[in-house]
């Protein structure tokens, strides 16, 4: 089975963007999804996480956005309005999100986004170099 026919994915026939469909939202879904790459709106149906046929081009507005998307060369697409916003907790309930670089006891932890330059293989440089 080709990758694009696997379940819970909409690979855009026009621009090849891979639109990942969040299982909680799309497990049983029939409606319109907007491609995060080229904004084409598609009719799409999934049943128990299985796609029920190829995406069919249609007119907007869309019902739902993919949860995550990436271009053919694995560049993530995270622009608001192209992909759905991540579910957010209530700040008053669980506190404000802060990417951290220290554990609760004050030692280094890899808890914030890194750039490619900050990596050695799979390990952040700070740990690799021991600093």
């Amino acid at each position: 089975m080709p990758f694009k026919d696997a379940s819970l994915i909409l690979q855009c026939p026009k621009c090849d963007t891979i639109n990942y469909l969040d299982p909680f939202t799309f497990w049983n879904f029939k409606g319109k999804i907007k491609c995060a790459g080229c904004d084409t709106v598609y009719e799409y149906a999934l049943k128990n996480g299985h796609r029920q046929g190829a995406p069919k081009e249609t007119k907007g507005p869309h019902d739902k956005l993919p949860g995550f998307a990436q271009s053919k060369d694995w560049k993530p697409i995270t622009t608001a309005g192209k992909v759905a916003a991540a579910p957010q907790a209530r700040e008053d309930f669980q506190g404000k999100p802060i990417p951290i670089s220290k554990s609760i006891r004050g030692k280094l932890v890899s808890g914030k986004p890194l750039s490619a330059a900050e990596l050695v293989g799979s390990v952040p440089k700070i740990f690799y170099n021991g600093v």
Binding site: M1, P2, F3, A6, Y20, P23, W27, N48, G49, F68, W74, P76, A86, P87, Q88, A89, D92, F93, Q94, G95, K96, P97, P99, K102, S103, I104, R105, K107, L108, V109, S110, G111, K112, P113, L114, S115, A116, E118, L119, G121, S122, V123, P124, I126, F127
Partner: protein
């Protein structure tokens, strides 16, 4: 361990402290060393099975989709508490802490099963592997040519554990399952939750208890089959675990009660249908009134157990209600639903101006068993568990300083251990593919180029 003289003369506590010394556990051999396991699992049920084997020392290789990994890496609590990087291709993406606890000590290989080369790699691994753990939908791997039937042709000694919701056969087999579905269908939720006087709602267990339990039972199956293979038959085995059937195994006497009498057990909330007093009291005051965290500001709860007649008398004296001890002197007087509904509110009146610690202290001073209901902060700060190694700070080679659970059990000569919490997607591609498939560096680079790994 030979019992030498110094150990022989110790008290039992010192003996345990010495043989289970958690600072020495990384120096001792691992009980499953030499067993190799391939885990193509996701979420919690399957991964926890593989993790239990890995904690005991099996060389466990987790296989995920390239670059993005399995869905649990992206299923996190709110507020993005991620560990970075997700993979070397995606440094700005992280793995959510929901991945914790179900994947320690594993080697991380990435494979795209939709490509024929990946299937070839799986077959090469099958030839050199003792155990497969898998929780794709029933029959998926068989269809792809990498299920038990195909692996057993290459390696008749392979033990293959499939895990899923409803089993590989039968009319209900095609539904996908989650922990919560297993608990609902298995019958667990119907008996946890509130009495009708308190709203009557069933209550869900927030921790993924049916996933972790299923993982443990699956690991238990696998160990039994390793014994049978290596000591009895020389043969492999195909194993199936259904989460829903596993949930039913928890139902203690409720099924036989129905079978014998037709009675459908009721929910009883924080009280206990068989004993009184044996439940959780709401206390009136917060232990952290000045905390910024609303969860800490809320009032506390304290478990109290005083179901024996003389303990109940002590409890009534403590709350200055000796009349209750007179009215409900015996177990039979107290255990009925009406009696319990009369007794607990009086206890909560006593607790209304106290914190959970104050209620606990009063109980202990009067010789009554009690325990404040602890939150994660209080659990994480407990010296006893850190000393015994069930909680530990781990200097993880990839992610730095992390707090994690360890195994709940101790093995004196061959202790289980957490070596690393987990690793990024595909972190061990080179190690595994060169060691087990004999691939060269350039071949591996080519597989990466073609997005096969």
């Amino acid at each position: 361990m030979a019992i030498d003289k110094s150990l022989k003369d110790m008290t039992f506590e010192d003996y345990c402290r010495t043989v289970f010394n958690t600072t020495k556990r990384y120096d001792k051999p691992e009980v499953l060393k030499g067993i190799r396991c391939v885990s193509t699992t996701q979420y919690i049920l399957g991964p926890s099975c593989a993790a239990y084997l890995a904690e005991l020392g099996a060389e466990t290789i987790k296989v995920e989709l390239p670059k993005r990994g399995e869905p649990m890496r992206h299923t996190t609590p709110f507020n993005e508490p991620f560990l970075y990087p997700l993979s070397r291709w995606m440094p700005d993406k992280g793995t959510g802490l929901g991945f914790f606890g179900a994947n320690p000590n594993e080697y991380f290989l990435s494979l795209d099963f939709h490509k024929p080369e990946a299937i070839q790699i799986m077959k090469r691994l099958a030839a050199k592997t003792d155990v497969f753990a898998e929780n794709y939908r029933a029959g998926t791997f068989d269809r792809w040519g990498i299920g038990y039937r195909q692996h057993a042709q290459v390696n008749p000694r392979v033990i293959y554990q499939w895990m899923g919701g409803f089993g590989g056969w039968g009319p209900g087999r095609n539904r996908a399952s989650y922990d919560i579905l297993g608990q609902a269908q298995g019958g667990c939720f119907s008996i946890t939750g509130w009495h009708k006087e308190y709203g009557g709602m069933p209550s869900k267990q927030t921790i993924w208890i049916m996933d972790y339990w299923g993982g443990a039972i699956s690991a238990f199956n696998i160990l039994a089959c390793l014994y049978w293979r290596d000591n009895v038959s020389g043969k492999g085995n195909f194993l199936e675990y259904s989460q829903v059937h596993g949930a039913q195994r928890h139902l203690t006497d409720f099924i036989s009660l129905y079978g014998k009498t037709g009675i459908v057990p009721q929910r009883f909330g924080n009280f206990e249908p068989l004993l009184c007093v044996h439940g959780i009291l709401k206390c009136g005051k917060s232990s952290y009134p000045n905390s910024k965290n609303p969860q800490e500001q809320e009032v506390g709860f304290c478990l109290v157990s005083a179901y024996k007649d003389d303990d109940f008398q002590k409890l009534c004296k403590m709350i200055n209600r000796p009349d209750l001890a007179k009215k409900y002197p015996t177990h039979a007087d107290r255990v009925g639903a009406d009696a319990q509904m009369a007794i607990y509110p009086e206890l909560e009146k006593f607790a209304a101006d106290k914190t959970k610690e104050e209620v606990d202290k009063a109980c202990k001073a009067n010789g009554i068993l009690s325990q404040p209901v602890w939150n994660s902060k209080e659990v994480a700060a407990n010296e006893h568990w850190h000393m015994r190694g069930t909680l530990q700070w781990l200097d993880d080679p990839t992610f730095g300083d992390v707090l994690t659970q360890g195994p709940a059990y101790q093995l004196s000569d061959t202790p289980a251990r957490v070596r690393w919490a987990f690793k990024p997607v595909g972190a061990d591609n080179e190690y595994i593919l060169s060691k087990l498939c004999g691939y060269s560096g350039s071949h591996i680079a080519e597989l990466e180029q073609k997005e096969i790994i």
